[in-house]
Symmetry: D3
Subunit: 232 residues, 6 copies
């Protein structure tokens, strides 16, 4: 499946993207049943960015960023580009010129399972990137990959149109069929956490709020004043 550009993909509204971005990676990962989280090797090049949007997926050969040019044409405003690589590679497949082009198309941000360069300029431009490395190593434009086919990025399956949410904690992928539900569950989760946060801030213990003491005792948790007591 190399050399293919799929021109149609599922999508969802910018309003929904905004809700997802506000909820953030950790909350949504929990809300969809602890799935979809990319490996922690994918890190933001900036601090404080929070984005969400439908995925435009790219599969690139190692050291070759040609398909990113092909992908930009397939992007709608608010999309998030996700680049997977055919083998492990840290080359700097993305820099300020491509960012200028993506920003002009309204792309929300970029996830790279390879390296990124021009990071100083990208931060100044406000174009958010999550990548596996910061590396200036230049790439070529010689071989085909594909755009908008299912890929594996950061050890997670991503299909075109799936929701990609990224912030300082990393990147989570939500199947496009579940985006609306995920947002609703995430918001419900936030409401529940608010109540707990207030009680915890007031000094109550999780042990009591969550009723953990009987379960811990049942499993045999013992309190001793010193390890010597235990051995006695």
């Amino acid at each position: 499946m190399t050399g293919i550009v799929v021109t149609k993909k599922p999508s969802f509204s910018k309003a929904l993207s905004a809700r997802l971005a506000a909820l953030g990676v950790a909350t949504l990962h929990e809300a969809i049943g602890r799935r979809g989280l990319m490996r922690p090797s994918i890190r933001p090049i900036q601090t404080g960015a929070k984005i969400a949007g439908p995925a435009v997926t790219v599969l690139a050969p190692p050291g070759d960023n040609w398909m990113l040019h092909v992908a930009i044409e397939q992007c709608a405003p608010g999309d998030v580009v996700v680049l997977a690589c055919m083998s492990e590679n840290d080359d700097g497949m993305f820099g300020d010129l491509l960012a200028t082009s993506m920003q002009a198309r309204g792309v929300a941000g970029l996830i790279l399972d390879v390296g990124c360069r021009d990071t100083d300029t990208l931060r100044a431009m406000g174009f958010p990137v999550w990548s596996k490395a910061i590396h200036a190593r230049g790439t070529i434009k010689a071989s085909l990959g594909s755009v908008n086919i299912p890929v594996v990025c950061g050890h997670v399956s991503v299909r075109p149109g799936d929701a990609v949410v990224a912030d300082d904690d990393g990147v989570v992928v939500i199947p496009h069929e579940e985006v609306e539900t995920a947002a609703a569950r995430g918001e419900e989760r936030v409401r529940l956490e608010e109540a707990k946060r207030a009680r915890l801030a007031a000094g109550e213990l999780g042990l009591d709020i969550y009723g953990m003491r009987p379960k811990l005792a049942a499993l045999g948790l013992r309190y001793v004043e010193s390890l010597d007591d235990m051995r006695a």
Copy 2:
């Protein structure tokens, strides 16, 4: 030694903690004979934080953060929680709710030999964390570990009550029997360094200040104008 909570541990004064935090990791590591330094894989999630305090230790199963709830009840104000894991694990065992609870108890900060999440919120709250990864991966509450037993974290032995000092350079552990001495030696070291710093800033060379030239010559150090001279 799973399923044990030791309720008493050695401690030391907040004044002493403040002296240790001011001295910092590099100075104290040297002051105690170049011991106690955690591996550089344990990194701060924030910049500029400097903390010190008696350790509350936690041993957790991989992917299970239940013992953190148990540990909070054992914390006194000023304590530093140190979480070791039974096997290598990057899961996000700590987030903003647990931080709210720790902050309510006056905990000074947290050292994690696993992952951390909600990093944006933690920085906003001013709750300092050092961790092996930033990862939103959720954890369960199913199995027992222990609290306040000796653990190995970041390749260093930590006993409950040992002093834990952390800053931008990493984390150092000082045996509780040696905390007072370490602080005194660290402060002496700082005084000695101040005099040297002034001389170095004035352009004097370490070669002269430390009297290194004769030793280097004795070992055979040769100065040549080019490598060709040497081969001649």
Copy 3:
């Protein structure tokens, strides 16, 4: 080749260093034919620093920073010190005292294929460092290495006097015979990119600006509305 200090090395003007620093790592790496880039494991300890200058090279034994003291005497204002290690090592070979001394000599910055410590103070002093780790681990002064011999740092050959350029993207090394040409080519490259940037910012696609469409078609790139079309 241990125990040698070479006292003469090629150099170039501060004006040329300033031009290189302004061009930055990614541009110069491309301008010299995609060579000379250190591995991405060498990272800046600060954000936003951009330096360039002739290399003073240091080869150090693991855990021993004695040769840094020897090297400082060989530094001219504007030089960049590059420390390679005889084996893989993360020890904190450099801290604020050595930085004070280097700053007094006018050294522009430091590249370490080992660890760095006192990072908070170094940032406050404004002395820029790129290193393989942040680690407070102390070092000894017991064995000889060499100064100003050819070394391999970050998987790149560096000879004394070669230009070292470092910024947020990493570190690139330019052979001293090619520095002037590299600067000129880099500046030409920047001019060409400016024109492209304006067109990309206006929404034109790289596919059209670079005339990529016929080449992609010739290689067989296919556009389909869905993968099902393709299988049909």
Copy 4:
């Protein structure tokens, strides 16, 4: 999608498995268009084993191998079990007792994106395993995962019933719809390679057999007697 066991999956004949095993990983990876290869971190615990069969997939929590017991019941003779983990984990999820059970069911072998133990006994039993680590770390049986859902293992998507082929080179996954075609193409590839091998063994060069010289010349490849010639 946790807590689900899917009891039906696609399959293919033992004769086809035998053809795939004989072709091997490198040939089949090429035959299906350079796809489906697991990352090289998944390594065999033995030398010389060559297996192929339909995948029974397992998704396990870190440190918990309960789902392997559930999976064995779903295995038909000749199947290959593929275990993916919810987060990065090196625990020894598999040892000689489970191997005894799998061998009794006729399972062809096991791919683990975690650790393996009892490796000495497994080799003696002749039960082949590919794993990310060799580690004796024990696991629990406390939480649900799933069996026969799509997983990502070794950075590759695997669906139940896909063909898994493993040998000393690693592991490749072939979509179940393409298994017959892949075998045919692989065998054709082997035939073509045989002819080339004979010519290469006779001393002919790939440059001539593959007609590479004109293409290399067109790209500007230059032959010189020394680099000095080139600079002249």
Copy 5:
């Protein structure tokens, strides 16, 4: 605690060592409550070796193997030498000359948290080694470490006289107070496993032998014919 050689240490009989070696790493790790296992980065340089004995511990500076010479004098026949390093280091601290000396003293084997060299000769000599790397990098004899103090090796605390057991699965450490108990529990465990092995070999499932079905059902495990059934 540098520069100290402790000349007395706890010990146990060769008969007990033989029982431990026969039980192996995985069984003993389980028998002592899943503790004491070194990280999987410590690997055997040979296949099939199984050793056990009281630890002689060594703490060495990076790149300096002097303390190994000091340690040999402290070894009794049957001891296992465990070398920890003050910082991360892969240098080849051990080769065939030191092995000749250790073999002459009756040392059972060596655990290195650094590199090993002369591996071909060591295998021919039959002197078993577990190490973090195979690397010929030479070391110096310039700085003091210590012998027979508590160390951390492979992320595990080891005290002199603790039992060290190593085989193809890795290395486990048993506190010297618990060696007798560990052997007895390990042997009981082996007996219990034999019975289970026979039933598993006869085709019975772990699901039935261990009575897992009701627990899995209680947690909500669902069996479906396809994922579509589930979504329906």
Copy 6:
């Protein structure tokens, strides 16, 4: 310096290669002053091979093995091919067809700073390879690199014609100007070691043979019966 093939290189006799191969990596690394050793990430795919010969160097783009075909034509019998890559890459750039061609030309072996495939067949053929990974990932033939220019492989500079020696311990590179001297020094070193080996085998201690006791005492090494004595 891309797109260049240098057709002449220094060389040395097969008799000298045989002496180097017999001496091995560890001895020669010491004999030339502890230089020239590749990083331990470059590992043999077989056990027991010992080779030496003049280097034919190759610089390849990531994922592209075209230059290996170009290099074979430049090989004389007894040469060792050394492949460096423009960026970090694990792709399987070498397999059985290229090995057949190299074997036909009399090439002694291959060092790869990338991946290798068809490892089972290569072992059966007796063609020795050292590589950074075992990976079947296929490569393309699209971009130029160079042959017989200076490269960095395994973090060591290699020039065409330098001696490359490889065995189970790894790979060492000897500058071609020093090959004769290195062999002589290595053989002298072996003679000296033989005498020491006999004394060590007879039970004498290195402490006595090397006269270490006074130096250790002078540095302050203390012998105590227990750590408590020391604290007293």
